[in-house]
Symmetry: C2
Subunit: 203 residues, 2 copies
DNA sequence: CGTTATATACACCGATCTGTTTGCTTACGG
DNA sequence: CCGTAAGCAAACAGATCGGTGTATATAACG
């Protein structure tokens, strides 16, 4: 990504203009919101002239879309790839991200842009579906009876915790984690290391 | 839709201007978002001159706050007051509101305004706390072991369903209802009318 | 009738936002 | 060295926004 070949010459002078813009977007869009962050301020924070910014991105909409697409993988991985945890622990570890999350940027973007057809809204949907899918995969790995359902349920808990944290200004992820524990124990026939070693009869 | 204005000059005087403004706010703020709805458009929709609007409300911020305060009771009541349902059914009935909810306006406002100190954000917090409290009361009435916790959990489910519905453009309330059923059955020692008529184990 | 309170229509202000244009600078690469 | 092109700073355009000022018209009340 460091070598952004942009011409027949493969020049990479001023290396990182695009990256600085996206980096500033990550910070400002999250801290101040998308609509309240003007391109002037953003370019100043990125130490990039507006002219340059608009040469790298067709417009703010495209920048917002790229901003959402950026940390797509960074959030997805890091939790699901932890092989040192049991599948059940891995499912619960998703809810242990208190300090890094002011609010899920995808929810914020969907609300702020207010247009389901906006590219960024599409990315938000894709991301949410991807998370649910990964959760479902982890649930299947953990031996859940209905992994798809459990994945969707856990995804809803994450979004609920994010939204509630935002509105109430108080961390709601512990509550979500408690619910998740109940759901997981309820969905997995033989949950290990649990306070409910009672066997459950499937309906 | 009204016969308030008759002729170029004849108008129904006084009463109604404020209500028309708030009514238009309800519609436009929800449909288009708060930030994307200008006062010009809003006043036109309310059939009210801008001057009049600013005589009724000190500014848009105050209007937004009042807009949130308005249907505060209408949402809270109507579900909790249904005595024809058992406490457990009442708790679950909260999740049966698919068509009326494009998105919880409180979450939307908190995201759009992006300022926890904004009066509207305060109202949003108060409302969310009130809902959780009513849910907790209903949970206590239903005989939950820890009503406060169950109330908070159900509130989180509502917010999660609302946020997820918005982002994914698909109704997420059935999923939330399924989780709620699990939580309720898990929290209430003897759940009636359930597929789990197992006797409770006293702690 | 006249006064007053409430509306209205409409122009206007300053701020801000997205996006563009105009020179000018500077770092390479041949 | 010189050319090319990326980049910069800053002014500018056009639109929209929240909010006001002004002059006018009408209904209610005395």
């Amino acid at each position: 990504m460091t070598e952004l070949v942009k011409g027949p010459k493969g020049r990479r002078r001023g290396r990182g203009a695009r990256e600085r813009i996206l980096s500033a977007s990550q910070q400002l869009f999250r801290e101040q919101g998308i609509n309240r962050t003007g391109m002037d301020l953003l370019c100043a924070a990125a130490q990039v002239s507006k002219r340059t910014a608009y040469q790298h991105f067709a417009g703010k909409d495209e920048l917002v879309a790229e901003y959402l697409r950026e940390f797509d993988p960074s959030v997805l991985s890091g939790v699901f790839d932890r092989t040192d945890l049991t599948p059940r622990e891995r499912l619960l570890a998703v809810f242990d991200i208190p300090p890094t999350t002011p609010l899920c940027p995808y929810i914020a973007a969907a609300v702020e842009l207010h247009d389901p057809e906006h590219p960024a809204s599409q990315y938000a949907r894709d991301y949410k579906k991807a998370v649910a899918a990964r959760l479902a995969a982890a649930a299947r790995e953990a031996g859940a009876a209905d992994p798809e359902q459990l994945g969707e349920q856990l995804a809803l808990l994450i979004d609920g915790a994010a939204a509630r944290t935002r509105v109430l200004n108080a961390d709601a992820f512990p509550t979500a984690a408690a619910i998740a524990a109940v759901l997981i124990d309820n969905a997995i026939p033989a949950a290990a290391g649990d306070d409910r070693p009672r066997e459950e009869a499937s309906s």
